[in-house]
């Protein structure tokens, strides 16, 4: 068992290192500007005093490494500084929205993961049939659609006048859990469509890759039903690539919510980030970017560990 723990420990250390470098990158990206951010943000009409005041507010008068350490220690304690546009603490702006975004991503994942696994297995089972071809073409089409197109199609189709679902996913008035599921159904469905396509194609490819191996041939020759061959013999060995693609898509869900949130006016982190980018509110942008990047790195890390654990050959590597 100990080597598994040491492997997980090593991966975790590597993930932390990545996270550290990413945080440096996010923080120091402002240094790429000629001049500094205060001048750029305030534009031509700014006076010496306002620029100096903003510099002090952002701590730009301090040397770079001190600013970074201050920011990082603040961020680790949940303090990302104050928003430039409305002076409120960034953590307060992020607070509830983070939960909303997680809820939406989890909702979409809860539909997408089982659905894509089932579709992928079925497509592999009945490969080259009409179902397989149709599922493949549909998946390719769904991948090629911009998210906002899918979202608006769903709105026209299912929301419209006297439609089944609301076209705006507001969470006003403290809705119950069931009510929340109902109100956020369309955004969740949009994201489900986008990621299901990708996951389904990968699941199918991973299983079909294995179907040519001798042990599958053996299982088939001893008279096993095709369904049992795929589920009992092929699936466990296809788990590693499937776990990887699921994690990648979950990571995508966390960032892909940006567009969907804007379309459905959903009060989440993505919406906040887009608004802040438009007004160049750096403290908010940096805070949200750090959270998104951390979630992305963590999910990839989890996938890495799980994929290794699912394959005894990797666990017992000498």
């Amino acid at each position: 068992m100990s080597h598994i723990w040491s492997m997980i420990g090593k991966r975790l250390a590597l993930g932390l290192l990545t996270l550290f470098i990413v945080s440096v990158l996010i923080f120091l990206a402002t240094e790429l500007l000629p001049g500094d951010f205060a001048e750029e943000f305030l534009g031509q009409s700014a006076t010496e005093e306002t620029v100096a005041a903003l510099r002090r507010e952002l701590g730009l008068d301090q040397p770079m490494h001190i600013r970074y350490i201050d920011w990082l220690t603040g961020a680790l304690q949940g303090d990302f500084g104050n928003s430039l546009s409305n002076r409120r603490p960034v953590s307060e702006l992020i607070g509830g929205r983070f939960g909303n975004t997680l809820f939406l991503a989890a909702y979409a994942a809860a539909i997408a993961v089982p659905l894509s696994l089932a579709l992928g297995i079925l497509a592999a089972l009945y490969r080259n049939s009409f179902f397989d071809r149709f599922a493949n073409a549909a998946a390719l089409t769904a991948i090629s659609f911009p998210e906002f197109f899918l979202a608006y199609i769903l709105i026209v189709w299912l929301a419209g006048a006297g439609g089944l679902f609301p076209s705006m996913a507001n969470l006003r008035g403290d809705p119950s859990f069931g009510d929340m599921l109902y109100r956020t159904f369309l955004p969740a469905l949009t994201m489900t469509l986008v990621v299901t396509a990708h996951m389904m194609r990968m699941t199918r490819a991973a299983i079909i890759n294995l179907l040519a191996s001798p042990y599958i041939e053996m299982a088939r020759l001893k008279g096993m039903s095709p369904m049992r061959v795929v589920v009992k013999h092929a699936l466990p060995n296809a788990l590693a690539p499937i776990i990887n693609v699921i994690a990648l898509n979950l990571a995508y869900l966390i960032t892909g919510v940006v567009l969907v949130e804007v379309v459905f006016v959903y009060p989440g982190l993505g919406q906040l980030m887009v608004d802040s980018v438009a007004s160049r509110d750096m403290p908010v942008v940096q805070g949200v970017a750090l959270i998104f990047a951390a979630a992305y790195v963590l999910l990839n890390l989890t996938a890495d560990v799980l994929a290794t654990l699912s394959n005894p050959r990797l666990v017992h590597r000498r």
């Binding site: 990206a29 608006y152 709105i155 419209g160 980030m273 509110d281």
Partner: protein, 307 residues
């Protein structure tokens, strides 16, 4: 709107698209020289449909001023006029002709996406080939740098950079090109790594060929096939990213006609059941699907897979 009717429509549109693909393939096989005709004959209907659509987009982009009835920025009527004989697709939120803007969008949106992809490819493949050929510290430095850049999700990273540099077409192109070049770098490097170990590269080195000649004359010609297929896929990705950013109001800026921002500007109509704002989004989707279909066919052909 009824729930079932759209499904019937989808089926009808699919059938029409396949028929168009079939006609295009028949015509193309008849008019092109024999060598190309033979390859075309093997194209599946989806790929023929894709080629037809790409051709139409290219023609539309080049001849936009000749085809479009009005200019892209001129205000020619009231806001949100419905479809009629003068304004075939009505007018937009400022009273500009929707059809004209749709046609000009082919030039602006596709043109910018294409330029971005080319820059991304130039940066990515040159650094990738360099890393594989020189190896050692160069490979280590570039690869680790790319690892770090790829650890941040692309959309979030581009939003971060856009908020620092402000939103203009030039920053947009450069930001997306640089972020996307990391993906090209990965592919170019891994393809080139397999080529660098070949005997003829060793021979070329012993012959005293310089680094530049080694890359352009010995390695690049053998790495073209996967890179070309990747170009199609990356184009789709860049195109979707740029449209998404424009949709968010952070990409191509008004008054330039652009499909992403056209959807955003007219989105209010959708809640009234008017599908006009979906047309630019559909234009994006159609081109991406078409390119994907063609790339799929090319990959299938290149790999020699017959499943």
């Amino acid at each position: 709107m009824n729930i079932i009717m759209p499904l019937v429509w989808i089926a009808a549109v699919c059938a029409a698209a396949m028929a168009a693909g079939w006609i295009f393939r028949t015509v193309a096989v008849a008019v092109s020289p024999r060598a190309i005709a033979k390859a075309l004959k093997s194209a599946p209907l989806t790929a023929s449909f894709g080629m037809l659509m790409i051709l139409i987009y290219i023609v539309g982009a080049f001849l936009a001023p000749a085809i479009a009835p009005f200019s892209e920025t001129e205000i020619v009527g009231r806001e949100f006029q419905p479809w009629d004989d003068v304004h075939l697709l009505g007018t937009d939120s400022l009273g500009r002709d929707m059809l004209s803007r749709l046609i000009y969008g082919a030039r602006n949106t596709v043109g910018i996406a294409f330029a971005t992809t080319i820059i991304a490819f130039a940066i990515g493949s040159i650094t990738g080939l360099l890393a594989a050929t020189v190896g050692g510290w160069m490979d280590q430095t570039l690869s680790r740098a790319v690892d770090v850049l790829m650890a941040i999700p692309a959309l979030i990273f581009s939003l971060l950079l856009l908020s620092i540099f402000g939103t203009s077409v030039v920053t947009l192109i450069l930001v997306i090109a640089i972020i996307d070049s990391t993906r090209v770098f990965r592919l170019a490097r891994s393809v080139a790594l397999n080529i660098v170990v070949m005997d003829y590269i060793e021979a070329a080195k012993l012959r005293g060929e310089g680094l530049w000649r080694l890359i352009t004359r010995e390695i690049l010609p053998n790495a073209t096939a996967p890179l070309v297929a990747e170009f199609g896929l990356r184009f789709c990705f860049v195109f979707l990213t740029i449209s998404a950013l424009s949709f968010l109001g952070l990409g191509i800026q008004p008054p330039t006609a652009d499909w992403g921002s056209m959807v955003k500007e007219n989105a209010t109509l959708i809640t009234f059941g008017d599908i006009t704002p979906l047309l630019p989004a559909g234009a994006i989707a159609l081109l991406t699907v078409s390119v994907n279909f063609v790339v799929d066919w090319q990959l299938h052909r290149a790999s020699g897979l017959k499943d």
